[in-house]
């Protein structure tokens, strides 16, 4: 949240060189390591269907194509994320153009939450629209497109997926993910629980969805070898039943492994069931202060969220220039700047643009190859990230958000209180 929009790219090449040298992930590389801003990650282009296109400089227009669910059950959150993406792009195209004066042409195709349509969308984006950069939302959809996209050697940047699954640079060198790896996030959660609660007994309430079961399993893994005892794992059917079962489990900590509407309905039901765990941990995807925490009133008091962006309801965070610029851009497209999903979307695109600026400045210029090489190692300070939390992508972990700030919702104040310092995420 400091410095101006220009020059936020932090040249930490030396640190990075050490990192990548240590884990030598570029053993598949086809030779020359460039010493530009792109760091040490090199991608092998030999097997690409058209190797020349991969290293050809991109012209006056950068084409970005996404497949995302704009209809169907998860669209509710996505449309709010998209407002942030749109606002950031509009700001770029209308007043910045600092990727060598290029215009970004962004299109989003609806896949209606259906992998078959996602696959078709991505095939069309690659072959007909000839996009330079792809994007996708959701594990099921990414699973259906990731092989095609890697085989075609088109970068897919900042997919909105929390799972660690698609982050192996050996298997998927052309893919990066935006959300913090949920296994790493939950290691941080378990550390927080250990620090805050004596003799922690945890009950996990999980949604019977891809995200819910992934969070449940990641929490199991994270709790292994710690003092945490997981006393029960409850599949969510009705929140009230889950809440009363959670109460009966004898736990003193509740982890709400859900996304979407259940970010609110589970804590509400827990309060109504008269269950008062010492800690109620929400996953970082339950991010929006207004529609989740404020809407939940008293029931949400004390709920803990791990955050990496500023909070729209935090008066201190919403005073500086960066906020003013962000808020003006979002309001210009009739969005709500306080919506945290919009802040997430803005940051997502902000990071992509930051990477493109750096790739453009690299020796190769702006090419598909330089874009992915920069993206896999990008160090950047997104304007809407919290102070002290940078974007720091490492090809080793495939994770860009390496610190999360625990926040505790204070219902009386209608705001989050930070709990100590940001926690550093570590892989197992």
């Amino acid at each position: 949240m400091h410095t101006s929009l220009l020059g936020r790219v932090v040249p930490t090449v030396s640190v990075l060189a050490l990192l990548t040298a240590a884990c030598s992930i570029d053993d598949q590389g086809s030779g020359s390591s460039d010493d530009g801003g792109g760091g040490e990650f090199t991608v092998n282009t030999e097997n690409c269907p058209d190797p020349e296109a991969v290293t050809a400089e991109i012209g006056d227009t950068i084409k970005i194509g996404w497949s995302a669910a704009l209809s169907g059950p998860v669209a509710a959150t996505q449309v709010r994320v998209n407002r942030g993406i749109d606002a950031r792009l509009k700001l770029y195209n209308e007043s910045q153009k600092d990727i060598g004066g290029r215009t970004i042409d962004f299109q989003m195709k609806d896949d209606g939450y259906d992998p078959q349509k996602a696959k078709q969308n991505v095939a069309e984006l690659i072959q007909r629209d000839k996009v330079d950069i792809l994007g996708a939302v959701g594990g099921g959809q990414l699973a259906a497109v990731v092989d095609d996209q890697n085989e075609a050697c088109v970068p897919l940047l900042n997919s909105q997926v929390g799972s660690p699954e698609w982050r192996d640079v050996e298997l998927y060198p052309w893919t990066t993910s935006y959300l913090p790896r949920n296994d790493m996030e939950l290691i941080a959660s378990t550390q927080l629980i250990e620090n805050e609660v004596e003799d922690p007994k945890v009950v996990v309430v999980y949604q019977q969805t891809e995200s819910g079961t992934a969070l449940r399993d990641a929490f199991d893994d994270a709790a292994e070898g710690t003092d945490l005892e997981i006393v029960d794992r409850i599949a969510l059917t009705t929140p009230s039943d889950a809440a009363s079962s959670a109460r009966e489990s004898g736990a003193n900590v509740l982890f709400n492994a859900t996304i979407g509407a259940d970010c609110l309905s589970v804590p509400e039901a827990v309060a109504r069931a008269g269950f008062e765990p010492e800690l109620l941990i929400q996953p970082s995807a339950c991010a929006d202060a207004k529609s989740i925490y404020q809407a939940g009133g008293e029931a949400m008091d004390g709920a803990i969220l791990f955050a990496w962006t500023v909070q729209g309801l935090d008066p201190a965070a919403t005073e500086d220039e960066d906020w003013a610029e962000y808020a003006a851009a979002v309001e210009a497209i009739d969005g709500d700047p306080q919506d945290n999903y919009t802040i997430l979307g803005w940051s997502l695109m902000d990071i992509i643009i930051g990477g493109l600026i750096e790739a453009d400045a690299s020796e190769d210029g702006l090419t598909r190859k330089s874009i992915i090489e920069v993206a896999q190692t990008l160090q950047y300070e997104p304007s809407m990230f919290r102070d002290g939390i940078p974007w720091s992508m490492s090809p080793e972990t495939g994770n860009g958000i390496n610190k999360l700030q625990p926040l505790r919702w204070n219902a009386a104040e209608g705001a989050f209180d930070p709990m100590g310092d940001a926690l550093t995420l570590e892989a197992d």
Partner: protein, 298 residues
């Protein structure tokens, strides 16, 4: 014990809502001999109308009334313009029209009101302290309110059908359309009225469930209610009003207790359980427990 009471209370709340939707399905079945797959989505539409009115500062009770009026008009219009012409083409085309309405109405909700979840104010106080303790279990006023509202709605329905002239006409038109028509009843109008009334019952169900639904008010709110409601209607017998109520309450309670206490089935096979009960009932009694057989002629 505490948890048992809570589960029974939950089961009753859901059961009453299922019973209302099942009742709406039965009223429609009596008019058109079909299961209205779009019933719950029609209810969702009018619930959105009510929610939209409350965001304009209109009282929820007034919004409920408006939703019922809108529901009646939509239900009647669908019967008159789509269902009746489709019926002439047979059972399958009628079902297809209803399946089409199911998708189309849901999409219209999204087009008008967007895809976000909305938390909707209920008819009853819903604070954290608005409960009575029964053996240390909390029974919230909200739940009691749903029971009371549903009981009143059900009682009014039964009164209208069994004690009024209008109800007499409806029963006559359903039992024997030909002789009803011969005795001067405008059978078509009675059917249209039946569809309208069913939509009113549905609207009440929607406004009762949306504030307490885990999906809040969103495009996914009513689909599970349709599944349970239609299972309830089938179990009770599609042409039995009483059967719908019994079916709904039984299913609500059974759902709550089975997922809570039967480990093997567990929470994963939640809707499957309800539908398995339905299939078993159908295999034993192909027209439901209280349903009567219709004669088929060659």
């Amino acid at each position: 014990m505490t948890q048992l009471i809570e589960r029974l209370s939950d089961g009753l709340t859901n059961g009453f809502v299922y019973a209302l939707i099942a009742l709406a399905l039965v009223v429609v079945f009596k008019a058109s001999s079909t299961v209205n797959f779009a019933q719950a989505e029609m209810a969702l539409f009018t619930t959105y109308v009510a929610w939209w009115m409350t965001t304009r500062g209109i009282s929820i009770w007034l919004a409920l009334l408006a939703a019922c009026v809108v529901g009646f008009i939509i239900g009647a219009a669908i019967e008159r313009t789509l269902v009746r012409p489709a019926e002439k083409r047979g059972e399958m085309p009628t079902l297809l029209i209803l399946v089409a309405l199911f998708t189309a109405i849901n999409a219209i909700d999204g087009l008008i009101w967007g895809l976000e979840y909305h938390s909707m104010d209920g008819l009853f106080p819903a604070g954290l302290d608005d409960y009575v303790s029964v053996a240390s279990a909390r029974i919230y006023y909200e739940d009691i309110g749903v029971w009371a509202a549903a009981i009143i709605a059900l009682a009014v329905c039964f009164m209208v059908i069994n004690k009024t002239r209008l109800g007499l006409l409806m029963r006559a038109a359903a039992d024997n359309p030909a002789s009803a028509a011969l005795s001067g009843i405008n059978v078509g109008k009675v059917y249209t009225f039946g569809w309208g009334s069913a939509a009113v019952i549905g609207s009440i169900a929607g406004i009762l469930i949306a504030p307490i639904s885990p999906h809040q008010l969103s495009m996914a709110t009513m689909f599970p209610v349709l599944i349970y409601g239609s299972a309830a209607a089938i179990i009770g017998g599609l042409n039995s009003l009483g059967g719908a109520v019994v079916g709904g309450l039984t299913l609500g309670l059974a759902e709550s207790l089975i997922t809570g206490y039967v480990g093997f089935i567990g929470p994963q096979l939640h809707q499957t359980t309800a539908l398995a009960v339905m299939v078993i009932v159908l295999l034993v009694r192909p027209t439901g427990i209280f349903g009567s057989r219709r004669l088929e002629r060659v």
